[in-house]
């Protein structure tokens, strides 16, 4: 039978399958979107993401004020940093949600066996991994944007009530707020990469959450100078600290300890926001590269 020649048929009518399209990235993206939206648990997790962002953002905003300064006035930079602080705390919780979801999206397919149907339809495999990651990242980003679109105006309103006037022409504010979302999306992709490598839900979630939360906390307990300083600098490479860099606001010292000279530990590195973003991207790229190599080699 010549490829692309439809078989005249009575047993199986060709129907719409008579028109033959080759595999395309467009088709694979659509397929992955159908898969993502047709599993109920996905939407529960995205609902959690939205509720958490709005809930924590508004809660933090209402409990933030400079009343404790007494007669002193906070600087504008300090107020901006306070607004950022209120907005980004939710991201540290959201990374746990996407850390689980990112693993589920890919390892879940191995768990059910669906991956064999997927790879039968797309035997080259790698494009389907990229399509899946893309759909997951875009949907997560859109849910995140929606959450921020709700939370930012609420936060600003609540902060104004607490005497904190947020200036919206502050690029650092927007970079930090959008950065918190980029951080969440990239952690989702890190978890996705881990899930693709391990192909196992429980192991994947354990490793993803371990990387995002447990390891940096464990290392963060070490403080001081000397060799431990090295450890602290190394711990900057963990996603959580890269996220911190991405969401940092230069006015933070004015918010945390107004009027005092900023303390800087000798030898302790401070990452620029772009370095934080780059670090997260490197994590994603390295994990995806490993996943792709394994994907080509292993039996499904």
């Amino acid at each position: 039978m010549i490829a692309g020649t439809p078989t005249p048929s009575t047993v199986v009518p060709a129907g719409d399958a008579a028109i033959r399209h080759g595999l395309s990235l467009r088709g694979m993206i659509r397929s992955e979107w159908i898969k993502l939206r047709s599993i109920g648990s996905t939407w529960w997790m995205y609902a959690a993401l939205l509720v958490m962002t709005v809930g924590i953002g508004t809660q933090m905003s209402s409990s933030t004020s400079f009343a404790w300064l007494g007669d002193e006035q906070p600087t504008q930079m300090g107020m901006q940093a306070a607004a950022v602080n209120a907005m980004i705390l939710g991201a540290d919780i959201n990374v746990l949600v996407v850390g689980v979801l990112g693993v589920l999206v890919i390892a879940g397919e191995y768990n059910t066996g669906m991956i064999r149907s997927t790879f039968t339809a797309v035997p080259r495999r790698v494009p389907v991994l990229l399509a899946k990651a893309m759909v997951f990242a875009v949907v997560t980003f859109l849910v995140g944007i929606l959450s921020l679109a709700i939370t930012v105006p609420m936060s600003i309103g609540i902060l104004a009530g607490n005497g904190i006037d947020v200036r919206l022409d502050d690029p650092h504010y927007w970079r930090a707020v959008i950065g918190s979302l980029v951080y969440v999306v990239l952690v989702g992709l890190i978890a996705f990469g881990i899930g693709a490598i391990l192909r196992n839900i429980a192991g994947g979630i354990a490793l993803a959450l371990g990387l995002v939360l447990v390891a940096p906390i464990a290392l963060g307990l070490v403080s001081g100078v000397g060799p431990q300083l090295v450890l602290r600098n190394v711990s900057l490479l963990f996603p959580i600290n890269l996220g911190r860099a991405l969401t940092a606001h230069p006015g933070y010292p004015d918010f945390a300890a107004p009027g005092e000279p900023p303390v800087r530990l000798e030898g302790l590195l401070v990452l620029e926001p772009w370095q934080g973003a780059l670090g997260l991207v490197v994590w994603v790229v390295v994990l995806f590269a490993a996943a792709v190599v394994l994907l080509k080699r292993r039996d499904a």
């Binding site: 048929s9 199986v12 659509r30 898969k35 499904a300």
Partner: protein
């Protein structure tokens, strides 16, 4: 057209497929037979690239499956019915697979109708019976209207209606000129469905021939003769070159002579005959004879001699 060349698959401890060469041609049903663990499923998974061959090659219409631009229009595969996400409805599962090749919802509804899944199409797959799962697997395989079909034990779990339906369906597909590779444990099923058999044992090919040839080679016809004059008749028949055995005191099992000749010899010798029954060797017996030494897992308590 499926062609395997010195195809080999080794897992860490076992060689599941051991250098097999065979082809499945258009227009006929090629039956893939073999005891448990013979390597049938492994071979079928290699056809669509789910397992990587350790060495050798397997192509569909002249190319490795992964190199086709529209794979599911080329090959439809039902490998295991559990390759589905339980939380998704059957229709969404089909829509997702179809979307990769930009096949639309109309075709999805068409294969749902074709496989009799209308009533459960919007239900979650998790609650499906084995037979429903098989039907969904078959529906998935048919999405692209492929010229080649690979079906691993498609009747597994189907009710009698379903079995008959699949049999006719598969025959129809071959009659349309499609290539069908079908594995099954049911030899009787194969006799009714397949034109050609590839029999595997421990990863190697034991037989690769037309069903009719395999039956003919299995020792021809045996005639059962019920007679009170067993000793007399046996001697006379043996003089004419027949092979004789006595399954029961007054029952002769005669090989090598047909019923007509046996009756003539009996008349010449004055032997009384109550009953004269020719038995064609069944495909089942032929298969047992072929694979006797290649069965990997013998049932406990069944000595090999019992099959003789």
């Amino acid at each position: 057209m499926i062609e395997a060349q010195s195809l080999t698959k080794r897992f860490s401890t076992t060689t599941a497929v051991d250098g097999i060469t065979f082809s499945a041609r258009p227009g006929r049903v090629t039956g893939f037979l073999g005891p448990n663990g013979a390597g049938k499923s492994t071979t079928m998974r290699m056809i669509v690239g789910l397992d990587r061959p350790s060495s050798g090659s397997i192509t569909v219409n002249g190319r490795p499956y992964a190199e086709h631009t529209a794979p599911i229009h080329e090959v439809g595969a039902l490998l295991d019915a559990t390759a589905v996400s339980g939380g998704r409805s059957a229709r969404n599962h089909l829509l997702a697979v179809a979307a990769t090749h930009r096949i639309g919802a109309r075709r999805v509804d068409e294969v749902i109708r074709l496989t009799g899944l209308e009533s459960v199409a919007r239900k979650r797959v998790r609650g499906f019976s084995l037979g429903m799962g098989q039907r969904l697997g078959l529906a998935t395989a048919l999405l692209g209207d492929p010229a080649t079909l690979i079906l691993d034990e498609p009747v597994n779990g189907l009710d009698p209606d379903g079995v008959v339906w699949v049999r006719q369906f598969v025959r129809g597909l071959a009659a349309e000129g499609r290539t069908v590779l079908l594995s099954s444990h049911l030899m009787s099923e194969m006799a009714q469905t397949a034109d050609h058999l590839v029999i595997l044992g421990r990863g190697r090919i034991i037989a690769d021939a037309a069903v009719t040839d395999i039956l003919a080679d299995a020792g021809g016809t045996t005639v059962a003769v019920r007679t009170p004059d067993g000793g007399l008749l046996a001697t006379a028949l043996e003089a004419h070159g027949a092979g004789i055995s006595f399954p029961e005191p007054d029952l002769l099992s005669v090989n090598g002579l047909d019923s007509r000749r046996i009756a003539e010899i009996a008349a010449q010798n004055g032997a009384v005959i109550y009953e004269l029954t020719p038995y064609a060797a069944s495909l089942e017996e032929a298969y047992m004879a072929l694979t006797r030494d290649d069965v990997e897992y013998h049932s406990a308590g069944t000595p090999r001699e019992a099959t003789r």
